[in-house]
Amino acid sequence: MSETYVRLPRARKDKLVTTELAGEKLIYDEKLDKAHCLNRTAALVWEHCDGRTTVAQMARLLEREMKSSTSDEMVWLALHQLEKSHLLEETVARPAQVAKMSRREMVRRLGIAAAITLPLITTIVAPAAVDAASCLGNGSPCTPTGPACCPGLACGLIPPVCHIT
């Protein structure tokens, strides 16, 4: 079967919390305790990972949605990133010529203007101070110098968890 007619794998849905923010899709992976931010292209591909849509159909769909020229390679790049982020149920075997292609090469091929539509998945890392803003709940592991326990709780010594005072 030609690569174009390869069907997209199914997206993983289990143990994921998702929300949308300003055109981005944010995903929290409860299993791996990781948070991802998918740009619009990556989000579109992930949403269509249903085991039925083909790579070629996806490329056409992207072209329509993004109003920009696109290619099968772009879909493959998205799939590669989704797989690396553990957001797919199944693994995908990328065609040899695509597997070798780096993101930089793709930018060169598509041109700078189209490059902004390239799929991108980034890991969301909370700035250190953000965690300090939230308090730790009852039973959460704690240290005297780490994030604080919620009001009404204190950090115990043995075991070192927040407990009701």
Binding site: L21, A35, C135, N138, C150, P151, G152
Partner: protein
Amino acid sequence: MRNKPHGGNLGRLIANTLAGSWRSSPPSLEISVKELDAVTPSLLETGAGALGWRRVCDSELSSSESALQLGQAYRMHALRAAIHERDIGEIFGLMRSHGIEPVLVKGWAIAQLYIHAGLRPYGDIDLCVRPDKYEAASALLESEEGKRYGVDLHRGFEKFDKSAWDEMWSRSRLLEMNSSQVRVLCNEDHLRLLCSHFLREGAWRPIWLCDIAVAIESIAADFDWDLCLRQDQRRREWIACTIALAQKLLRANVDKVPAEARAMRLPRWLTPSVLKAWEARAMQERHKAPVSSARHHPIYALKKLRHHWPNPIEGTVGMNGSFNEWPRLPFQLGNCLMRTADLLLRNRKTRRHLLT
């Protein structure tokens, strides 16, 4: 862009950065990169990072390192909001299945008034339950099923308000949240609660004043100000002062506030106390080392003891004092002594309880 030097007035800079940030079209922010760098750690620490991001996301500063951190905070808060919403739905379901109908205060109840829930992060889920259901609710939250939720459980509304449970309960309402219904206070009771909570906690988190600004600006035409302000004169004065603070520091639109409350003159010590509380971060330090932790970490607690000195706002409210021009030191001293006595009494009770 102005290149005003950062003159150490971090509190005012925080206020400027957050002014109007909750609106669908926030006003443009004139701030230098240096100032943004100075204000960012405080915004992140106090949960106001996402609001800070809204002020800079369409400006030249949007690609600066600090702005990127604020943007990441917004994403993180948005995800946490989604997780919290799921948890709130589940905890309401769990409690209802045991015949307990809680009322959610602060947290999601205020976050849903913002244009996006991710703008208003909250660490725990504050639930108030009927006083006679408190023990059952507490046991449920300590069970295997309930302990995974970060719930801060309250016996009635006594921690927040003077009104009786039945009275506030009768006015509470159900709001739709995804596929569940969440019980919250009526808008009048909630605004009063937000104001007294802000003051009682020493006004240390700027986002609490943003909450009050958002609540005031979202007031509907049928909002009953008499109901909101009908408690004693002192509490009316406190609420009016808090609303005046939101207007003064965050430029909240107070057109819908009655003239009587708008006419409130702020005592001279109040605004500097709020700005100092925002700047000093003393309360963050206090939460890291509650006095009760002295039993387990005495040296660490002793080092942090100075952070337990109440600020003028906390002292005044704790002593049920008036917001007048009199010196605040007696209130602060009184509050400190009262808290120490309360702690000793609680420790004695705990010890007696353990021995019996």
